[in-house]
Subunit: 147 residues, 10 copies
């Protein structure tokens, strides 16, 4: 059994039980964003979190153990994603990537926005012209140092 198989089990049970990610997140005790990433095989759970997930989805012990092992991360089957929803984010990097770079460097100097010390929040933004998806990302700025 591999982490990938655990992800499969969870998704099958989630559909059968008609659970929502936000409900699962409450059980886990973390945000819906982190919980979804974790159960899709991208994050590592504590023993306590894994036990809750195991109980919720009736997972075997081996699966509960695997949830506590750091996974090989990367959730997409191709370097350029084919799914239209995910592709739009890739397109944003293609179009705005150099803009991100210029503005962050202008504000902070040489360095990066951490993708590790990072959190995000995804909300529906009501709008009479059609509701909008609002995503707020927050990552620590890490400066390059000279030595």
């Amino acid at each position: 059994m591999k982490r990938y198989d655990v992800t499969e089990m969870i998704i099958e049970k989630k559909i059968a039980k008609k659970l929502k990610w936000s409900q699962i997140a409450e059980v886990v005790g973390q945000s819906k964003e982190w919980t979804t990433a974790a159960l899709l095989g991208q994050m590592t759970l504590t023993a306590e979190q894994a036990a809750k997930v195991g109980a919720l989805f009736e997972l075997p012990e081996e699966a509960v153990n695997l949830l506590q092992v750091v996974p090989y991360k990367g959730s997409l089957p191709t370097a350029v994603p084919t799914d239209p929803l995910i592709y739009r984010f890739y397109e944003l990097i293609s179009v705005y990537g150099t803009t991100f770079k210029e503005l962050i460097h202008e504000e902070f100097g040489d360095g990066i926005m951490s993708a590790i010390d990072f959190k995000m929040d995804l909300q529906r933004e009501p709008n009479p012209m059609g509701d909008r998806v609002s995503i707020t990302m927050s990552g620590k700025f890490l400066p390059y140092k000279t030595y």
Copy 2:
């Protein structure tokens, strides 16, 4: 002359004149995010905006004309970006792409977040543990329709 050459001219002049993107944005009369993307060759300017940019950077008339022509978009030299700052955004899609997909579909059903009817805002978020980069993205949700 091509749009790419206009971008080069603007960058050279920006460095020589020690201008900041936020200052340029004030001249153009748009946000710093849109203005940066536009002057890096990703957006189309109106005649009025192009004239202001032409005056600021002392561009030839041909360049001012090109700023008003829709460009072939895409600002990165490789499908997987090598620059560490830009790569971190690519990594976020690799790690969180399926999470974006699950949560947007849970909230909105089948469809995408538009990368066209889209805006973003990039701010410094002061933090005693080290300042953070905060990016808020807002894109209209576009549902798939049956027919």
Copy 3:
């Protein structure tokens, strides 16, 4: 079980029962274009549509559930398709892509033709020189906005 497996089941049953896509579309109550894409794993069905499809193809309940979950879209095994029929469409983009771009921008300004708020119709066009395939695509124009 995954959506891909549901697609396999449907195709096997469709061949065994000698059903046509246009007949299936009548059962589903949508156009043959949308119905075909949906049953090939690219669109999400409502509970009612999924139930009809499940009855028609004698699918297990898990499969009927999966038809109602938004799929990871993308129906081709390679970035450049090898199948001659599908490749011709890729070739049209290779040869006419910049033409699409110029003419849409000339008519509408900067923006895109939506691939989400989109429909299409495929018909036989009788012709004494040999019948023709006629495809009409209609997608909403989405303008880039300044902010």
Copy 4:
């Protein structure tokens, strides 16, 4: 000088003279779709057409000659296009490619829609919910033959 250079000359002059593709098409005496593709380096002009184009854009004789030579076709810099407008067409093939295949085979049997004996028409489709891009493609069906 190469065909690519002729395309560059035409685009520079078109911008400077503020000509529209539909106006140029009238001079050439063909549809705006074919004319745009031809002047973007994808089609071969007759001596008469090339002479008209040469006069309109003040091209040197060598360029007028090159317009009459069959070009190496393919107008995009990457296998998967980065420009959002053109990408949407690529996405349609990714999502609907197998649908095109199924429906054309259902109607016509094994074979392809010609991308050579092909024409297309691009129109604005007024719509109170937002105008739409309407593209009609017509290609001869070519059946595979046994031998």
Copy 5:
């Protein structure tokens, strides 16, 4: 079961029964070239042809049905083939591709040689310096049309 599985069954039985493609072609009633391509999963058989093949190779009914369904074509595992025999044909295109283009355009004008309305014949050409492979390809010329 998929077409690929039918191809596998046929190849296993062909080896066990020590049949030659030319013998199989006689049973099918077509050339050895078309028959081989068809049974390797690239062409569509009529009900009558499929029945003959089913009888010869003792195929189950599902397989006989699949032989009559248009397959997803493309018989090679990689874009650049690794098998030396097949690679030599790829090399011919790499070295002679622009020659094919120049000579066909010189003789016929702009257009292509059809790969659909196409037939070929492969023969041994006795030669005292070592026998030669002789391949004759014949494809209809399809001219690009203006519109």
Copy 6:
């Protein structure tokens, strides 16, 4: 100067002088197929052939020398060709590659058709249904040997 530049010079002069490949082949004293490949930079000329070509196209001495140096072969800009005429040949390998393999091995055993000890002939094949391109290839069979 490189061989590529010599090819450019020849093509420019050929267009300006309105010469046909068959006429050039007569000057060189070889077939039109070999001559075209050679002048497109794929074959090596003898001193005598190079001198004739140099005289015909008024090439500088350095270019005449370069025609006698073995070139780095490969005439296409991408691994999968984008030009529709050349792509059709690539498609033939994709669809018929395993057929070539099976039939050559059936006739000759394990080995290849040489792409070096190779010649070809390209002709117009008149046909009331539309003229056809006929290509005959002849390559020496080279058997694998045990040792």
Copy 7:
């Protein structure tokens, strides 16, 4: 069963029986170089050779038949090999490839070293500074011909 499965069987048995390739080669009656390539799925065996191999490794009849069928050649999982030993050979081509080309053309004129009419010998070369691997390759020179 496929050739690949036969290779797997042979490797498993070879490990279990602690046989060396040189011992197996003696049974087959060919060099250790050819025998290894053949049993790794790259060469075709005669009925007699296949029978000996079948007896040595206790293969089923279907496997013995498959050893006599020409395989789809190519033994590596990626275009650029990851295994350090095999990569060094790839590196030699990357660094010395143009040297091979220059020196063979200087000695023989335009043509290639055959990879079909080819043999090789691999030996340990004792050396006080550390033993060396010595590989001697011999391939027939095949000249390009004019026609």
Copy 8:
């Protein structure tokens, strides 16, 4: 000026002066194999060797300096070489790569054949069936060590 430009200068002069690599190697005082690789930009020359080469090809001082700087190695424009002569070596690795691996490991254990402490010799091998290219490679075996 870069090393690549120095290589270009040397090749142009070599053609103009009709020098052979073996003659140049005598001037340099090394083997023809090493000398060719070095002057094609893959090896580093001593001051003395560079001076001799500079004198022979009338190179400017900057070029003579560059010959003494370690170059960025790799002499081929694509990962899979298109030139038929060089491709045959790539094919040998594709077909025989796992054979190299098995036989070297059988003889030496885990480790590699060095591509650095390496030399080669390329000779014409007269043969009544057609002369052969004979290449002898000798590389030090480097064992993996435990620690």
Copy 9:
């Protein structure tokens, strides 16, 4: 069974038994770095080491044999790794690769740092600003030789 399967077995057992790599290394009698690489399928074990590993993880005899066979090395599923931890090392090569090259050549001349006669040590480096990962690599310098 293949080496890959042995790696899987070991990882499953390691998780179930809650063993640490450093504990396993003590059993094997080598460093934790070499032991981890070896049990992840990259190194070859002696009979004695394999027996200890087999006992510790209760492996079948076939697995113990496979641990003693030189594996096909390369532990990552894609050329550019998607896992963030491993990607950072790839990024270091992308950013510092030419620096490594310059400094090693400045100190040692032309040659490489061996990746075979190589060892490494990975330690936690306590630091009040946050602990650090400290990796020391030591590889023999191998000079290119002239011949």
Copy 10:
């Protein structure tokens, strides 16, 4: 002028002036590792550092300005490096990448070694069996956080 051009200028002058990186580092006042990376276009200099570099290499003012602008990082021309010295580092990741991952996670939990808050030191390690390259890397451990 671009940063790439500044790098070129510096390298040309460094060769002409026969300067060593360690000497340049003393002028800049940083380690030789950081200085080399910076002058090869990967790091951003302060105004003071840039002025010193400008004086040392006689750079124009525009170049001195560019040294202070954050560059688009990534110093290699291909995703898999062809240069043997740099490739060995890529090979280490291919072979030891999963080992790095396991051992860092065992010691620190889920997270990464920073490639930004990072320093390295490269030294010659004298050894009677042949001197060794010793590289010590130190990067801050960054833990993934839940939220």
